[in-house]
């Protein structure tokens, strides 16, 4: 197999184009770090700015990434995606899409072929049933509830009773159960119809994990630890996954769109995991409105406007949200 030849040809094809100078070239960048996430800003020669968010970065990581992309066309977000690895790609990709949308005078979801929907189903984290009423008042109708192997079924029943009709739950194992415990939990809640069981166990031995979904039909969500689209291909091939849960702080919108394209061929939904700020949530909204197989987005309270269970789509160009630098709550 002439794989060396193919690799060489591919490398040539992906070879960065000569640096451009021109109004849309990336001229400078800046990075802020907060306790929960990092925010980056890119600016073109013409002075257009774009913002992105990801998991906390070291300044050196951002500087290295910026050095790689400086001088390139800000609309070449897919080329730049292939040059970057790790969470920094998520932030830079969003910033590039923000700039591209502003250049095109269109919200990002329009740049990406949408909108595929007119609103975005939202989910909030619910640790304590006491917070339920408040979150319902804020518009939420779906909740992610942390569980242990011992309390899953009883918690679901208790929370459902408190919530009444029209409210649904994702049970969150946070990757802390063993596959065996997860299998027992999955079977125990099968007839209670949670939306799905999220991150029931660590993804170590996939065959051990696949026993969970062989033994019961509770849908399973995985993906918080995923970094690349191929990570999901393996979960789909092994038939262990019902909901893709890529983390918006770790995977770029462009990468998640590729994972979604893979998942579509398995009739499987994408529900991005999101514990970030307003920029990450906005990126998630644009992503949701650009793919067909989106189901739901984690939307931390205060990061978007929610009504009757759904978030409103931004309509202004780019990310479409007002940004005040330094105010990264």
């Amino acid at each position: 197999m002439p794989s060396a030849l193919i690799a060489r040809r591919l490398r040539l094809a992906a070879q960065p184009a000569p640096f451009v100078s021109g109004p849309n070239a990336i001229a400078e960048g800046r990075h802020w770090r907060t306790p929960r996430f990092s925010v980056v800003r890119l600016r073109t020669q013409a002075g257009l700015t774009g913002y992105g968010e990801c998991a906390p970065l070291e300044q050196a990581e951002f500087d290295a990434a910026l050095a790689q992309i400086k001088g390139r066309d800000a609309t070449s977000f897919e080329v730049i995606r292939t040059l970057l690895t790790g969470p920094v790609d998520a932030a830079i990709n969003t910033a590039l899409l923000d700039i591209t949308g502003k250049l095109a005078k269109a919200p990002i979801y329009q740049v990406l072929g949408g909108p595929t929907r007119n609103k975005v189903r939202a989910m909030a984290t619910l640790d304590d049933v006491k917070n339920l009423d408040n979150l319902k008042k804020q518009g939420y109708r779906a909740f992610r509830v942390p569980i242990t192997h011992a309390n899953a079924a009883t918690r679901l029943k208790e929370f459902r009773q408190a919530a009444g009709d029209g409210v649904d739950f994702v049970l969150d194992g946070a990757g802390k159960l063993s596959p065996g415990q997860a299998s027992t939990v999955s079977a125990a809640i099968e007839r209670l119809h949670p939306l799905w069981l999220d991150e029931p166990c660590p993804l170590a031995n996939i065959r051990a994990v696949s026993k969970i979904s062989e033994e019961s039909v509770t849908p399973l969500g995985f993906g918080r630890a995923a970094m690349r689209p191929i990570d999901f291909q393996e979960l789909l091939r092994e038939q262990v996954i019902d909901v893709l849960r890529p983390d918006l702080a770790k995977m770029s919108v462009s990468s998640i769109r590729r994972a979604a394209a893979i998942a579509e061929t398995y009739y499987t939904a994408v529900a991005p995991y999101n514990i970030g700020g307003r920029i990450a949530t906005a990126a998630g909204l644009h992503l949701a409105a650009s793919i067909p197989n989106f189901y739901l987005l984690d939307i931390p309270p205060g990061t978007a406007t929610i009504k009757d269970g759904f978030a409103v789509l931004p309509t202004a160009p780019g990310l479409g949200i007002e940004i005040t630098e330094g105010d990264w709550a």
Partner: protein
């Protein structure tokens, strides 16, 4: 001049084949001449295609194909109705016209191969439906020329009383069920099929899942245990949602659940089937036996439901049945188009040892469609007697149809099938 050049390259006598193999010759005239000594004297002289709309806004105008021959009075009818894409199939039948005129209609297997293989890209639903219409018409001619109904040419019938069938349930509420059950008793109907309410997202809520399970339980309760019940999910559920539903309805002892998810991913369907004892059926959207191969070989489903108007006619439906039989998988062919395909499928059914039950998209009560079919063919086509479709006795497909009788229902043009959307405006399956 050009044609002689091409003929010069036929077969082993090909001279100076070039090194890149790019000078293959379209051998337009080969069909008839190569079989001069071994074929019949019958020649196809004309290909006609009819679009027939029962109502001007029908989304599924019938596409009928008529092949005429050089023998007085000998012609064949076939059907290639493709819902939502009528004009495309009609144009595709026309594309095969040059190939068919002058050909010997007795060589149905040979022509099927040529239409499929020489279409190069193989067949999707449009080419598949066009081949289906032509194939059925060829079989009609063959049967008439040989003086036998097609099911006898295929080595049947398995059961001379006819072919067991089912109607669509079409109950609006639970309250309709006792009346339908009584009427079924009177007519000897032993099987029905129903859908499930609503459209389904990738993941579903407790309320939506419970409602679907309850709807199926209500149907079983209303019909009683003496009637077989198939439930068509119509691929509107994702594998994740379908897996829950088919498992929870196990106690209802359904005859099958049909298309629990869309057809492109066989392993996704297998994931549903593996986790439940409810029998799984699929296949109405598949073209040619090739499309059934993986489903059968991987043991994904219990029942194959290929449709004689899309799969590639009698030839291809029989082959799908042969593949299924070898694996102990049953056949329950789909039929939701016109009367020609309906009657054609009965012939194949009657000759398949693994035949289970035949669909027709009719209710237990007669409507416009059934009246028109009767008017066209002179008998109550595709109506069951004692739970079975009677077998046509005349040679060929076993009916006469006059072109003039179609004129009352002129082609109203292609109309799209239903377009449905979820609450957030995104595309839904129906």
């Amino acid at each position: 001049m050009q044609r002689r050049l091409f003929l010069g390259a036929i077969g082993a006598s090909a001279k100076a084949a070039d090194i890149c193999g790019c000078s293959f010759a379209p051998q337009a005239a080969l069909g008839a001449e190569a079989f001069a000594g071994v074929g019949s004297k019958i020649k196809i002289t004309n290909v006609k295609v009819f679009g027939v709309s029962l109502t001007p806004d029908s989304d599924r105008p019938y596409v009928f194909v008529k092949l005429e021959t050089n023998q007085p009075g000998l012609h064949g009818w076939g059907e290639g109705t493709l819902e939502g894409k009528a004009a495309a199939v009609m144009a595709c039948v026309e594309d095969f016209k040059d190939f068919l005129i002058g050909a010997d209609p007795m060589q149905v297997e040979h022509h099927w191969q040529s239409m499929y293989v020489h279409s190069f890209y193989r067949a999707g639903p449009v080419i598949g439906s066009a081949i289906s219409g032509i194939d059925q018409a060829l079989w009609d001619i063959r049967g008439k020329a040989l003086g036998l109904p097609v099911y006898k040419l295929l080595g049947g019938p398995i059961d001379p009383r006819g072919v067991r069938g089912y109607y669509h349930l079409r109950a609006r509420t639970k309250a309709d069920l006792p009346r339908i059950r009584e009427e079924a008793g009177r007519q000897g109907i032993t099987c029905f099929k129903s859908g499930i309410p609503g459209y389904y997202e990738w993941i579903e809520t407790h309320a939506k899942i419970s409602r679907a399970v309850q709807a199926m339980a209500d149907l079983r309760e209303g019909l009683g245990d003496g009637i077989d019940l198939g439930i068509d999910f119509h691929a509107k559920t994702s594998p994740s949602v379908a897996a829950i539903l088919v498992k929870e309805v196990e106690p209802l002892k359904l005859l099958f659940v049909e298309e629990p998810c869309p057809p492109e991913n066989v392993k996704a369907m297998q994931r549903i089937a593996r986790r439940s004892t409810t029998p799984i059926a699929t296949g109405e959207r598949l073209v040619a036996a090739y499309a059934c191969r993986e489903l059968i070989e991987m043991g994904v489903v219990d029942i194959i439901q290929t449709d004689i108007n899309h799969v590639g006619g009698i030839t291809a439906l029989w082959k799908a049945g042969a593949l299924a039989e070898a694996s102990g998988i049953a056949m329950a062919p789909h039929a939701c188009e016109g009367p020609i395909g309906g009657l054609a499928t009965l012939h194949v059914d009657a000759a398949m040892p693994n035949f289970l039950v035949q669909e027709i998209c009719s209710g237990i009560e007669i409507g416009l469609q059934e009246k028109v079919w009767h008017e066209w063919l002179g008998f109550p086509a595709m109506r069951m007697v004692n739970g079975r479709f009677p077998l046509p006795e005349k040679p060929g497909l076993g009916f006469e149809l006059k072109e003039e009788s179609l004129k009352k229902y002129p082609f109203g043009g292609t109309r799209p099938m239903a377009r449905v959307f979820h609450e957030d405006g995104s595309v839904a399956e129906w």
